[in-house]
Amino acid sequence: MVNRLTEEQGLLADSTQSVPEEFAFSADCVSRRFGDIQALNKVDFALRSGEIHALVGENGAGKSTLAKIISGGLRADTASMRLFGQPYLPKSRRDGASSGVAYVRQQLSLVRGLTVAENLQLGRPGAAPIFDLKAAVAEIDHWCSELSLEVPPESLVDDLPLALRQQAEILTAVAWGARLLILDEPSSNLGPRETAALIGFCHRLREGGTPIIYISHRLPELTELADRLTVLRQGEVVVSGADVRRADLHEVAALMVGDVSLLEVERPSREYGETRLAVESLTVQMDRSVGLEDISFQVRGGEVVGVVGVAGNGQQALAETLTGQSRSTAGRVVVDGVEVTGNPRAAINAKVSHLYEDRAIGLATQMSVADNVVARRVRDNEFSRFGIRLLSRIRSHAALLADRFQVRPPDPMAKAGSLSGGNQQRLMAARELENNPSLLVAHGPTKGLDPEASKVMRDRIFAVAETGGAVVVISADLEEIRELADRVIVLSSGRIADSFDIVEMSSARLGAAMAGLSDNDYERSNIQ
């Protein structure tokens, strides 16, 4: 149905019919399944020699899975691939690398305690047992002038800013003889100037004859960068090799998100109370992930705000700052009139609850169910006297909550880590939801839960709103946002790209915001 849609709209008009010059790489009918999830379903993909081909899609669309299969890090269930005219079936990443496919991931792989030159020689295919560092330095200088990079060969990787580290990584791949480069979300941590530099040397690489697969969810930069684009959604190709310059990016963005019509949604009409959470021009800098830039919004009691966006656009920073765990460089977070910015104790006292995205962080897995359940409230009079914990009371309370939140087995002495994932999630919910939170920050609350368990969890989150709490749901799952949220905030590169009432949510609007089309940067570049 989707294909019909795109054809009708003439998106792929020129690309499929023109007789292709020689393909650098082609893959037919790539499928891959993980358990119940069909990550890729009969995907066809072709890369012309000397082109930059953008691979676009939101979380879980299958971009990285496809990249891993091409680079050899993952085996497809079915696929027939050709690389430079030869049949190609890599058994490992190393295998792929020796065929000339280099995969530069978001988490860079250089050893941080070594210099760039040392990294160049370390693990190099066919390297001599003793590193020739002088040659490495000369080689780096050569590539730097060739591609106009600015990588200092003898600096520790750790001392380089992220943009240069990434240049070093790409340089290493090229120097090792990459004939095909896959860049996975290379611009996600870069500022506008650095992105421009990245685009510059991608073009120089292309001129040098190296085709590039460029994975991204940010459309604006693609107009300058890429030649063609392919859009994946839920493991299927929805746009195949369209010409970037001719494509309507807003349409592409909408296709990327898919159909989010709201036919089935019915909101129980709730009376909202007073403002309980006020976020005032919050700016946060994070060490190793995207922070926040001048964010303001308010949530009233009984209101559920959904925060959407492609993962890694400031969600982590938002969750941590709302719950007092991260400091802000500017602005503040106020819950019920009390400032909690950078003060977890104040947040706990203000009854702020946090369903952590990662259960391994939200629970003390080596401690018992009982210890986990009361960890928030151990100093309450109910659970301790004169600084001594009342163990039997803690245990019976834990047994009670385990029963109420359906934690199996309901054994208060079992190690939290011995429970299954779903039960761990319920255990965390028991700790965070039992006491009528003023603000609940739920980060990916149903990730990895089965539909039944997800429904129960969503009901519980609703219950918080019904008792007058403010709720912020951070989720990449649009289905979930549609079911829970009254209002939607779209995060893109740490900024609020758009914000609207749930009934105004449409594919076009959401897609545009998520793909960065409503960014100021984009508008500016359009004006020029």
Binding site: G113, G324, P344, I348, L363, T365, R376, V378, L391, P412
Partner: protein
């Protein structure tokens, strides 16, 4: 027999403890003695005779029991302190040095109160020992809490400093006029700890061990101790729940410093009467081992300390009675340790992970 739900729960607790701690411990112990027995056979000795000599040497007489306890007490005390730090996720190798400075502190304080009545001089010396032990832990604690300087390395380094300081003091300022070997002046009589059992080495200082054990049990049950456990288990979560990271690090390292300092005190005030270069022997390091083996729990640490005390005193008397080298008991200690390392392999591995994370922050992802 009908059990009330409350009792069932308590029974469950013990079942968990048995499964998690006692069962593997006794297994490791058994295996160690079997391996030791095979070694003895290999050397042409009778294992039964050797072990019974060892047992007699450890528990067979008033003297033997006193000896075992005198050796177990410092291990237990250091073990409790190390366990407090261990539970907070900190590994301190500083006890060795803190025993030395504790002994010096106790001696210096006692010398200051030389003319005071015992009732003042004795506790003063104890406090002096504890304070000097703590002082030696302070800088590593602050470095760790404020600048993330790895505590394992800094405490090890501070042990070296303590040893050099001790050697200097015993070769010059504290050395009695006509002594040839490095040693301190005598510990003042009025601050000394007497013997509980005459003719043995069972001195009054050993009686702090049960007190410390109760204190440690109280610590574990306290809300604060719980927060420290939580920090040790999952520091991100603990901080999210409002636990102060700096406070946990500084306090737990200071507590372990204080207990090691107390060990310095009981060794000089109850056992040796002078400070020697070897005052700490290997107490600091074995104390950490005891804390590990005891699962960082009060009774576990106590049992591990008595076991190691018994192996040490039993080993020595096995040597004198049967002519079997005492190093055999060292081997048994080592095999026990090995057995436990296997048992704790995942925990130890995760400990190393956590150390690696700390030394290379890049391994942590946000």
């Amino acid at each position: 027999m009908m059990l009330l739900p409350e009792q069932v729960m308590r029974l469950d607790v013990w079942k968990h403890r048995f499964r998690n701690v006692m069962q593997p411990s006794s297994l490791a112990l058994g295996v160690a003695f079997v391996i030791g027995g095979v070694l003895l056979l290999g050397f042409g000795e009778d294992p039964i005779a050797a072990y019974s000599a060892m047992l007699r040497g450890a528990f067979g007489s008033r003297f033997a029991i006193g000896e075992t306890l005198a050796r177990a007490a410092p291990l237990a005390l250091v073990g409790f302190g190390a366990a407090v730090a261990l539970r907070a996720g900190l590994v301190t190798l500083g006890a060795q040095g803190q025993v030395m400075t504790g002994a010096i502190g106790a001696l210096l304080t006692a010398l200051m109160f030389e003319d005071a009545p015992s009732a003042i001089a004795l506790p003063a010396a104890a406090i002096g020992g504890a304070v000097f032990g703590m002082a030696w832990a302070l800088l590593p604690a602050v470095l760790r809490a404020y600048w993330r300087v790895n505590e394992i390395l800094s405490t090890l380094l501070f042990t070296e400093f303590a040893f050099l300081l001790l050697k200097y003091l015993l070769n010059d300022p504290l050395k009695p006029p006509r002594a040839i070997t490095p040693q301190s002046v005598e510990f003042p009589e009025n601050a000394s700890l007497g013997l509980v059992l005459g003719g043995t080495r069972f001195h009054y200082g050993i009686l702090i061990v049960p007190v410390a054990c109760l204190g440690f049990a109280w610590w574990i049950r306290s809300t604060r101790g719980f927060e420290y456990d939580l920090y040790g288990e999952n520091s991100v979560l603990a901080k999210g729940l409002g636990v102060s990271e700096r406070r946990v690090i500084v306090s737990s390292l200071l507590i372990s410093g204080a207990t090691a300092g107390l060990v310095g005190w009981i060794q000089v005030a109850g056992l040796l009467n002078r400070v020697y270069v070897q005052i700490a022997a290997e107490i600091g390091f074995f104390g950490l081992v005891v804390a590990f083996l005891g699962g960082a729990r009060p009774l576990g640490v106590l049992a591990a300390a008595v076991l190691f005390g018994a192996l040490q005193s039993g080993g020595l008397s096995m040597q004198s009675a049967e002519g079997i080298p005492a190093s055999l008991s060292d081997i048994i200690q080592a095999v026990i340790l090995l057995g436990f390392s296997v048992r704790y392999a995942p925990q130890i591995a995760s400990l190393f992970d956590c150390i690696a994370d700390r030394m290379m922050p890049s391994r942590r992802t946000n």
